[in-house]
């Protein structure tokens, strides 16, 4: 008994000291807006390298490393080399918050990239805002940047993808939509966005089903979509969940057309969904159909170069849309730091004023109101035919 009291006393003391140390550490950071002006430029990346977001995070790490290497080979940014510090958030929100805290206070980086998915990105946002750290997220939800000062992002907003879906619905005369969405941050706000944007066309969401990003059986959700009997159904998730849901959709023989989000823009989706993917419709970034773009498309050269270099660097592997988000984030950050130096306020101001930056995911034009910089022109409607993403009629 006595021993136990002593141990618990020790434990309390330890916990307290850790707490105190944590506080003092966070206080000591951010003494100034600017980082070091000599030595390498430090770039932190928080990615979903393991866990539910792994099929995104792993390719993003590769493309980020590729972009950093390309810049360093060309002499770095503003004459200084880039140093990349990568953290794995294990696809969790608390992991992401911990990682950005470490990058801010311990590594004292000049800019933070990440995270791969919406949930972890939302967890990082308040830390970036309060420590005045420029951050470029690679995730989709508009909520990441709505009203933000210090946070930007490269993935196309969910809102622009929804806009493309609604356009298609109007074109084809669909009035009712069933939705099966990711229960994590990526799927938040999708139903509201559809209801909002669909109102003018008399389009409504009549059924909403949810699934965990690591779910394995989708029979229940798909049975309910089948009973709802909507004109079209939308599956909003990332692989492997999106692929398993797609399989269940076909297995249950649901007749209505099925749409997927831009969360499926990688080979892992096509591999795991197999034949069940044929015929689905999805608004995707142009990287998934780069070979089918006309030569005069402004992104054609950037896309072709990126795909060639990525394949050369990683043994012929085809880069995904997610790889593009990482690549764009590094190049936006490098452009800002190259022009504005490492003063954080100056970097932030520069990013907010970026105009016509031709990236892999689209042509970025940021503004104080829009920290994503991409409109619905950044995605094109595609379908899957013979296990391959195929551009639909209207090219561009």
């Amino acid at each position: 008994m006595k021993l136990r009291t002593r141990w618990s006393g020790l434990a309390t003391a330890l916990a307290l000291s850790v707490l105190v140390a944590g506080c003092s550490e966070s206080k000591s950071t951010n003494n100034a807006g600017g980082g070091a002006s000599t030595g390498p430029v430090k770039m932190g990346a928080v990615l979903d390298i393991t866990g539910a977001g792994a099929s995104l995070g792993v390719t993003e790490r590769k493309s980020i490393e590729l972009a950093v290497k390309q810049l360093n080979d060309k002499g770095g940014v503003g004459g200084r080399q880039l140093q990349l510090i990568t953290e794995d958030n294990q696809s969790t929100e608390d992991g992401a918050a911990k990682a950005i805290n470490k990058l801010v206070s311990q590594d004292q980086v000049d800019i933070v990239l990440g995270a791969s998915r919406t949930g972890p990105s939302l967890a990082m946002r308040p830390i970036a805002e309060s420590s005045k750290m420029p951050m470029i997220s690679l995730a989709a939800s508009k909520a990441i940047i709505d009203g933000s000062q210090w946070v930007f992002k490269t993935a196309q907003n969910d809102a622009v993808v929804i806009a493309q879906m609604i356009d298609l619905a109007k074109q084809r005369g669909w009035k009712t939509i069933g939705l099966a969405r990711d229960a994590s941050g990526f799927g938040e706000g999708v139903a509201e966005g559809m209801t909002d944007q669909g109102k003018s066309g008399g389009i409504s969401v009549i059924r909403i089903e949810k699934f965990a990003p690591d779910a394995t059986d989708f029979t229940a959700q798909m049975v309910n979509l089948r009973s709802a009997n909507a004109d079209a159904n939308v599956i909003w998730g990332i692989p492997p969940a999106a692929a398993l849901a797609q399989r269940a959709y076909r297995q249950l023989g649901i007749a209505s057309p099925v749409l997927q989000s831009h969360g499926i823009g990688n080979q892992a989706f096509l591999d795991t969904a197999g034949a069940s993917a044929d015929g689905l419709l999805a608004p995707l970034g142009r990287i998934n159909v780069a070979d089918q773009l006309p030569a005069d498309n402004p992104q054609k050269k950037v896309l072709t170069d990126f795909i060639d270099n990525y394949r050369k660097a990683y043994g012929g592997e085809q880069p995904s849309a997610f790889a593009g988000y990482g690549y764009d984030a590094v190049n936006l950050a490098a452009e800002a730091i190259g022009k504005a130096g490492t003063n954080k306020q100056a970097v932030r101001d520069y990013l907010e004023g970026v105009k016509n930056h031709v990236g892999v995911s689209g042509v970025f034009t940021m503004s104080p109101q829009d920290h994503s910089g991409l409109t619905k022109d950044a995605v094109v409607m595609t379908t899957v035919a013979n296990g391959k993403f195929t551009l639909m009629s209207k090219p561009g």
Partner: protein, 289 residues
């Protein structure tokens, strides 16, 4: 009605996988009071080894055999190197030890096979529709194989001398030693059985539910809950628990909120622990205290 049956069919197939995991928990717990939290990792390992073997050109059956052999070796290794050396094993100690094993196995699988989810090709593809209810070929295989395995395991414990010896160790450890049953051999046999069942679950589940380095955690937890329905000591209880859990999950997801699906197992666990800590089917509860 069609929807109800569809949900039940999908639930049974998922529940059958939980049942295999649950029998693994029971096999090990009955012999030495060890709760093996790495049971779910056996499943993931079985699936990943089979996927890797098929990928390197082996036919499906051979790949399954390779998976079983490797997982059994790992299970026996865990018993020899981690469980056996502990002098006085308590259930709590075993939880801490096997949690460590589980973490180490996960890390090893991540290093070897990377973070992506993969799936095996189904044993027979295609699907059958009866009265509006769709059944996938693989689901029939899962149900058939789990039935055969369940009967075999039950027969093993009830009818063979070795199986009876294992049960003797569980019920009267001292008396079992007196009549010459080696607790060491019994413990090793139980881990062999658990490894075999885990690998089988992994190979069967992978075509439908995919496998990744971390898919064992959830399967392990669900299997554990299914096993507690039988008080951790009853094989039929574990099987029934697994099936019940699978069906309940799907019904709640279908008729309630699909986001609550994973909560079912834990609500069931809490209710069982409060109302019937010896398990809904546990006969030995009083004797074990």
């Amino acid at each position: 009605m069609t929807d109800f049956l569809q949900l039940v069919v999908a639930g049974l197939s998922q529940g059958a996988v939980y049942a295999l995991v649950a029998i693994g928990f029971v096999a090990i717990f009955t012999v030495g009071g060890v709760i093996n939290l790495a049971q779910g990792e056996f499943v993931a390992l079985g699936g990943l080894v089979a996927i890797w073997a098929v990928g390197s050109g082996l036919p499906m059956l051979a790949a399954a055999a390779v998976a079983v052999v490797i997982v059994v070796c790992v299970a026996v290794g865990v018993e020899r190197l981690v469980v056996r050396p502990v002098r006085s094993m308590t259930t709590l100690t075993s939880i801490i030890l096997t949690l460590g094993v589980s973490t180490a196995l996960k890390a090893a699988m991540l290093l070897i096979w990377g973070p992506d989810s993969k799936g095996l090709a189904p044993i027979t593809g295609g699907q059958y529709t009866v009265a509006g209810v769709t059944v996938r070929g693989q689901e029939l295989w899962i149900l058939a194989i789990v039935t055969v395995v369940s009967v075999a395991v039950y027969w093993f414990y009830d009818r063979t001398v070795t199986g009876k010896a294992l049960r003797a160790c569980a019920e009267q450890p001292v008396a079992a030693r007196l009549v010459g049953i080696s607790p060491g051999a019994a413990s090793m046999l139980s881990f062999t059985l658990a490894g075999l069942l885990g690998a089988l679950a992994g190979v069967l589940a992978s075509p439908l539910y995919f496998t990744s380095w971390d898919s064992g955690l959830v399967l392990g937890l669900k299997g554990f809950v299914a096993a507690t329905l039988g008080g951790l000591v009853s094989v039929p209880g574990a099987i029934f628990g697994g099936l019940l859990l699978g069906v309940l999950e799907n019904l709640l997801a279908g008729y309630g909120d699909s986001g609550l699906r994973d909560a079912v197992a834990f609500v069931v666990l809490i209710v069982v622990l409060i109302v019937r800590p010896g398990g809904v089917f546990g006969r030995h509860a009083e004797a074990r205290v």
